[in-house]
């Protein structure tokens, strides 16, 4: 019995990297969104330039499950190189769409799936003579065929073609023609639609489709960043590239055309963070975007900025490590490295957005937190959030919002006789005042250094001065807890001994897993941690439960370690649930891992079992 489902299936395109499939696949995904059906696309791509496999997966999900599901219901196998493995990965009773122009590659055919052979190459060769056209239109013809097979509204595809080629009108008709070639072939040769169907819905609402990296870049524009220094590294490069694009659009003086920003592609990550620290010291809002290897390289200056108390914003789009690791695969593996970055006793502010909307908000906020707390602030994205389009609530900005520049003493303050001690805690929040260099001819100058200093920024090796400074830095982190985004708690509504803590890109899979577990009879309270240092609510949440599962995407349970270390929690009470193979974490994985443990703990009374 072939799989049947309406608005609830996973389709996967297996392509050859660089064949022009990306834009066709994206158009397919967008058409589903335009039909009002929530969907969640994911790029799966290896670390190379051209000619190797790449996959594009679209999870169609009326129920709004935007995490990865796992498994494939319909495979569009366009890459002979991965054909056998792709076919093997199809769910039983699923569908295989393939190019039937030539004989199928050798391999044991599966009898438990449904074959849909479309002679794509033959159709193309008959229609087009130019080799490049044949390649590009093949992707479009395929999408056209799928539109019939899945009952997709062809007018949505036609509209998208019109939008995509608005500036190259010549290309609109040929593309629409190609769509119809595929659609007509499918209608003529198969019973359309197949068991998997799309049906117009209204579940998308006002949501937008955006990549986390683009949202973070917009956050930097809205948050008032004027200096960006960066070094190209996957998966973070598109943060700086998007920042460049948005600044080009929104940050030029309308009268003179001059730029209200400066972006330097630095010689390496060390220079990037050096520029950020220099610019921030001098009063500009500055940031860098990088990934794990860059975080390792920047360590020394993180410690400097922590100790000399210089605001700086670091966007870390995490990828699988250690070393070069899997540069195009996702993980949450830089937590510890960022939280305690650099030699000596250091601690840093971490923000952990769950999606693009929070990537925007937290990045914009990071500049306020950095200025307010005068310390480095890390925005921890990951490849899953950063490099995939995801449905997200619309980005919002309150025009009444002012930038919080923190405690900056002005020339007028100094002139009025305010006492300035660069590292003096004047009002008990452990945050001192600073001046921007050049503020006042005789007052407000100070020496910035990485060596130990007293409360007035004078070099000092006196133990008392050093300890006082280090203690104040700790107290500053206490202040931070009240400022940073709070953890979000969602209780099950009935008493339970079990809780779950999770963060970042794990969120959508976790929410779906909670639904699955509820259906399985398990009750769980949820807490999504959004910042480090941890708010008191995290400790309270753990205290309220006997056991708390900590779900994360790394091998060593890094968030769990941070919680144990910072909140003095008995490790036995924190059960690690770890997913770190480089693929996006799924609800299936989480619900199985937690469910199996809970099942084992669930003691069914003997009488009930016998009855």
């Amino acid at each position: 019995m072939p799989l049947t489902a309406v608005n609830d299936f996973v389709i996967r395109f297996a392509n050859v990297n660089g064949s022009g499939s990306a834009s066709a696949n994206e158009m397919f995904a967008r058409a589903i969104m335009r039909m009002g059906i929530p969907m969640s696309p994911r790029n799966v791509f290896p670390s190379n330039i051209q000619g190797l496999p790449t996959w594009y997966e679209v999870r169609v999900t009326e129920a709004n499950h935007l995490g990865a599901r796992g498994g494939t219901d319909i495979m569009v196998a366009m890459n002979p190189q991965t054909y056998n493995a792709d076919v093997a990965s199809i769910e039983p009773d699923g569908y295989l769409v393939y190019d039937s122009t030539r004989a199928m590659p050798p391999g044991k055919p599966r009898t438990d799936i449904n074959l849909i052979g479309i002679p794509l190459t033959a159709i193309c060769n008959k229609e087009y003579s130019d080799p490049r056209q044949r390649q590009l239109f093949k992707n479009i013809i395929c999408i056209g065929a799928l539109s019939a097979l899945l009952d997709m509204d062809i007018t949505e595809l036609e509209k998208l073609v019109g939008e995509q080629y608005r500036s190259k009108e010549k290309l609109i008709q040929p593309n629409i023609h190609a769509l119809h070639l595929g659609r007509a072939y499918a209608e003529a040769n198969f019973k359309c639609p197949i068991g998997l169907k799309l049906k117009r819905s209204d579940k998308v609402g006002d949501r937008i489709l955006i990549e986390g990296n683009a949202a973070a870049a917009l956050g930097a524009v809205y948050g008032g960043a004027t200096v960006c220094a960066w070094y190209p590294i996957t998966p973070s490069s598109s943060v700086a590239e998007n920042f460049t694009k948005f600044c080009g659009k929104y940050r030029h003086d309308p009268a003179t055309g001059e730029a209200r920003y400066a972006i330097v592609q630095a010689e390496d990550e060390i220079a990037s963070i050096g520029m950020v620290v220099g610019a921030a010291w001098n009063g500009a809002r500055a940031f860098t975007a990088t990934s794990g290897p860059g975080i390792s390289l920047m360590q020394e200056l993180f410690g400097f900025a922590y100790f000399a108390e210089i605001p700086s914003v670091i966007i870390d789009v995490q990828r699988a490590g250690p070393s070069t690791g899997m540069p195009t695969r996702t993980q949450q593996c830089d937590l510890i490295n960022c939280a305690y970055a650099s030699h000596g006793d250091t601690k840093h502010i971490l923000l952990m957005p769950e999606d693009a909307a929070e990537a925007f908000e937290f990045t914009a906020g990071a500049f306020d937190y950095a200025d307010r707390l005068q310390t480095p602030v890390f925005v921890l994205l990951d490849l899953d959030i950063g490099m995939n389009h995801r449905l997200s609530r619309p980005l919002q900005w309150d025009d009444a919002r002012l930038y919080d520049r923190g405690k900056v003493m002005t020339a007028a303050d100094l002139e009025a006789g305010k006492d300035f001690g660069r590292y003096t805690d004047v009002d008990g929040d452990a945050i001192p005042f600073r001046t921007y260099p050049g503020t006042h001819p005789t007052k407000g100058g100070y020496f910035t250094r990485g060596t130990s200093h007293d409360a007035r920024a004078k070099y000092s090796e006196e133990g008392v001065d050093y300890v006082e400074g280090m203690q104040r830095l700790l107290r500053k982190h206490e202040t931070a807890k009240g400022i940073l985004p709070r953890p979000l708690r969602h209780d099950a509504g009935k008493p339970t001994r079990f809780g779950v803590i999770y963060y970042g890109s794990t969120a959508p899979a976790m929410h779906e897993a909670a639904e699955i577990l509820t259906a399985r009879g398990h009750t769980l309270d949820l807490m999504r941690v959004r910042a480090f240092p941890f708010h008191q609510d995290v400790a309270s949440f753990i205290a309220d439960h006997d056991f708390v599962f900590v779900v994360e995407q790394n091998r060593d349970a890094q968030l769990r370690s941070l919680i144990v270390n910072e909140l003095d929690i008995d490790p036995v009470r924190l059960v690690p649930i770890l997913h770190y193979d480089g693929t996006s974490i799924t609800a299936r994985f989480i619900s199985a891992a937690i469910g199996d443990r809970l099942d084992a703990l669930k003691v069914t009374p003997l009488r009930k079992a016998m009855s």
């Binding site: 969104m33 949501r207 937008i208 489709l209 955006i210 917009l218 524009v221 809205y222 008032g224 004027t226 200096v227 220094a229 929104y250 003086d253 055309g257 001059e258 730029a259 209200r260 400066a262 972006i263 330097v264 010689e267 060390i270 220079a271 050096g274 520029m275 620290v277 220099g278 610019a279 921030a280 010291w281 001098n282 009063g283 500009a284 500055a286 020394e300 200056l301 400097f304 619309p394 980005l395 919002q396 900005w397 309150d398 025009d399 919002r401 002012l402 930038y403 921007y436 260099p437 050049g438 503020t439 006042h440 001819p441 005789t442 407000g444 100058g445 020496f447 910035t448 250094r449 990485g450």
Partner: protein
């Protein structure tokens, strides 16, 4: 080295500059370097140059790395903002600071360890970007703070205090700076204040990347026979190609020069650099010739000093970026934030 703090009071007859400041206003804490250290002479030259240029001390950012040389910003321009960064990273910190506020004067203070070894990359990239700065390397060919190891500018064949002979080739930072496109390149000697002070003044007035390599003998670890960075050696092998007078635009030129013996370069800020030729064949506006000349003289064991190259039409990083005239650190919400209407439009385009 002296442990006595300098008295704060001024003699009433101390000369004042155009801003009414005396030299003492450009001084700072007492040096803790070894007595006789060349670096202290360079600090004195920076003080003198700043006094003569009538710079407002608080409009200077003095930024350094790590090492003996990088300690010196504590010993000059006490009213300026100092930034003693990490080893080898002064150029990036300075670049960022410069981007944030184009209106300050940036003095980058570094040493041969800081710039020719750990920071060689940042040295190169700051120069090739044309950051508007005066980048001074206090070059003694030796690691002083760690007691006498060779640095990357130590000449091949030179001898350490302990008797070891350097077998590595030396990095010539001036040759590098010329190749990398610095628009003002000079070399001087800490013991020659007459030459050094006008060079620093001209470098500060230069809009673009100005690099000065100052040979600065290390009294403690590199002033022995067999060293090519000792006082005696540098004095004996110094070949100055020109002597520089700098005229700030408004000043009338009052000195008479022998015809044919003078090169004049007018810089963007209106300052006129008047170079008295000491070597008739040397043309400081010819980058290629400068590179050749340096190599030839180096092969002969000569240390070429003077203003070696200057481009009066130089540009800086802000010009390349076409940044607004107002310093970036003074821009606020109205200039920086596109606002909710623009965001609504962005949202609409993503549906």
């Amino acid at each position: 080295m002296t442990y006595l703090t300098k008295p704060k009071f001024h003699h009433p007859s101390l000369p004042k500059n155009a801003l009414g400041y005396t030299r003492r206003d450009y001084e700072a804490a007492t040096s803790t370097l070894c007595a006789g250290c060349g670096h202290d002479s360079i600090s004195a030259a920076i003080i003198e140059a700043s006094f003569e240029l009538a710079i407002e001390p608080h409009r200077v950012a003095k930024i350094s790395g790590i090492g003996c040389s990088s300690k010196t910003p504590t010993y000059f321009l006490g009213a300026s903002h100092g930034f003693n960064s990490v080893h080898g990273r002064m150029p990036s910190v300075l670049t960022g600071a410069n981007l944030a506020n184009r209106d300050l004067i940036y003095l980058g203070i570094s040493g041969d360890g800081d710039s020719a070894s750990i920071g060689f990359g940042q040295f190169a990239h700051a120069l090739r970007r044309g950051v508007n700065m005066t980048y001074i390397v206090e070059n003694n060919g030796v690691y002083g703070l760690t007691k006498g190891q060779f640095s990357a500018t130590a000449d091949r064949g030179s001898k350490s205090k302990k008797g070891a002979v350097n077998t590595d080739n030396a990095i010539d930072l001036v040759a590098m700076a010329l190749q990398l496109g610095a628009t003002f390149v000079a070399r001087s000697f800490s013991g020659d204040k007459t030459q050094l002070v006008p060079i620093i003044k001209a470098a500060i007035a230069h809009r673009g990347a100005a690099f000065i390599d100052v040979i600065s003998p290390c009294i403690a670890f590199n002033n022995h026979p067999g060293s090519t960075k000792s006082l005696d050696y540098v004095r004996a092998h110094n070949e100055a190609v020109n002597a520089l007078d700098i005229m700030i635009g408004r000043d009338a030129i009052t000195v008479d020069y022998e015809p044919g013996k003078v090169v004049e370069v007018t810089q963007h800020d209106g300052s006129v650099l008047t170079l008295r030729k000491l070597n008739d064949d040397y043309d400081p506006s010819d980058r290629l010739a400068a590179m050749n000349f340096l190599q030839q003289e180096a092969a002969r064991g000569r240390i070429v000093t003077g203003l070696l190259y200057v481009d009066g039409e130089a540009d800086d990083l802000h010009r390349h970026f076409n940044t607004v005239a107002m310093p970036l650190n003074q821009l606020n919400e109205p200039e920086l934030c596109p606002g909710s209407k623009a965001l609504d439009k962005i949202n609409a385009g993503l549906r």
